[in-house]
Symmetry: C2
Subunit: 188 residues, 2 copies
């Protein structure tokens, strides 16, 4: 049922295959260090900035300007709604990771996509954040629901791809399995 | 050394204390379900949306419009740089979580902040994302560096607060410890 022609998903399959072959020859080409910064403004409002990253020991300069994001809390969590909060951004990150992974792997398999949405929900009990006992600080569960349309793949193929994307998703792996986090503070 | 007056950090300490007392009386007030959606555009580009959330079984309607975010990959990962990628957004989320936690807890302790920045770095090997063996899909390590200035707290107090914020940060907990992630797909 899968088409053997390259689907017009907007993913350059030729470059994808070249990238995979290049990484096979030199695994260092798979090494990335990504970065994000925040500057405190007032209250719960912070301004974030994402710009360069390191790829295979070199700084990527492909971005003409940094991405600027605003983070805040809603009034229920003492903020003023100048942006989403950190947990919402975490869920957004999982949605983007699943979607990018699905788009790339669908293209590689010749699966055409005409529609793809993700809705992510996460439950959190803020007692630990408020200094109270009774719950872990982070999310107790995340539910990710994908919705996909394809004119040339069976529901079984699409479900199998969903499962593959889940298993290879960088963000899902960071949530489902522990990542070492080192935190340091400089007083200036 | 800590001031006994409420510092002008922009955090309403009166409301913070009220919130803590209310949650002590009714732990259900600590329950939040947050959400994020994404819609696929083309290639690795997706448009995200964050709007309402559920707080203590009710829908919060405080936001006048959804927050719209763009996610993409850089050319090195087959995208067109229409937004940060998912892993960068994950790091941004940790920066915002630390900063909001620090601002709130500093206010509660009477610690004035005049400057606060976070820089977060994360290392990832994209071999699993490309379908190759050799590395976990997610980040192998995250380094978070805070930079804080305060006119009325000692470096020791600021370091202790940093450690406390780390231990109670929802996003750090989601990274350092496993979260159950349930993924489902609907074919339409």
């Amino acid at each position: 049922m899968t088409s053997t022609t390259t689907p017009d998903n907007g993913v350059d399959v030729g470059r994808l295959v070249e990238t995979i072959e290049a990484v096979k020859d030199d695994p260092n080409l798979a090494a990335f260090t990504f970065r994000a910064k925040s500057s405190w403004e007032h209250g719960m409002h912070n301004v974030g900035e994402i710009s360069t990253f390191t790829h295979a020991d070199s700084t990527d300069e492909s971005r003409v300007a940094p991405y600027v994001l605003h983070g805040d809390e809603p009034p229920a969590l003492l903020g003023t709604n100048k942006g989403p909060n950190a947990v919402e951004l975490l869920l957004q990150s999982l949605a983007f990771c699943y979607a990018a992974g699905y788009a790339a792997n669908a293209a590689a398999q010749g699966i055409q996509i005409t529609r793809m949405e993700y809705e992510i929900e996460g439950d959190v009990d803020v007692r630990a954040f408020l200094g109270l006992e009774g719950a872990r600080p982070g999310l107790t569960g995340i539910r990710a629901k994908g919705r996909i349309s394809s004119p040339n793949a069976t529901p079984e193929q699409l479900a199998e791809l969903c499962s593959y994307v889940q298993d290879t998703s960088p963000v899902r792996d960071c949530l489902a399995n522990p990542v070492p986090v080192e935190t340091t503070l400089e007083v200036v």
